[in-house]
Symmetry: C2
């Protein structure tokens, strides 16, 4: 069993996404066989790239305010909100508040590089 606080896991900047960083909470480095858990942090007025992947993605908003932009337009997000992105659906996360927008992402372990 591994127990760690997310703050103990160094936030790594995401390439080509200024103001976006990720804590790799559970990954293949822990020999997790199936899924990875990450915590994303978006500084105010920043956003992830719009992207699509063939795997599903679960999101849980930890703190701050933001939005997810998908096929239905922009949907606002705050703490306690859950997003399920089905495989193949385009999406983007946006930080809309004055504080850091933090959310957890769950995705399959085989997809450890950002697309």
């Amino acid at each position: 069993m591994i127990v760690r606080n997310y703050r103990e896991v160094k936030a790594e900047p995401v390439i080509k996404e200024p103001g976006v960083a990720v804590h790799w909470l559970v990954s293949q480095l822990d020999e997790a066989p199936n899924f990875a858990l990450r915590l994303y942090e978006l500084e105010p007025e920043t956003r992830t790239a719009t992207h699509t992947h063939y795997w599903e993605q679960d999101v849980f908003v930890v703190s701050g305010t933001g939005a997810v932009v998908g096929e239905e337009g922009e949907i606002p997000l705050s703490a306690g909100d859950v997003v399920y992105v089905p495989p193949g659906e385009q999406h983007q996360f946006v930080s809309t508040g004055h504080k850091v927008f933090r959310f957890l992402v769950v995705l399959p372990i085989v997809h450890q590089t950002r697309v």
Copy 2:
């Protein structure tokens, strides 16, 4: 894409675990192919059953204080803590504070019944 707040998902009591309830945030009902996301709530002075399963489990503590009891003994938990339970390792979650202890659980979608 599905967006919902965890409070909108009814908390269901866990059988034979008094004071323990679960919000099924993402499940096979959403046609999620690989993994499920749940939020557990433990009232003060309650605990889950000690249990083991052959799949891995990721946990993220949302609020409250508690502990995970495993092979290494009892490890205290609070907001922002992450637990990775490898397949086959015995574990139990305990609520140790005066407020509800809330944590997210990620596990494979094929295992939707509590063991």
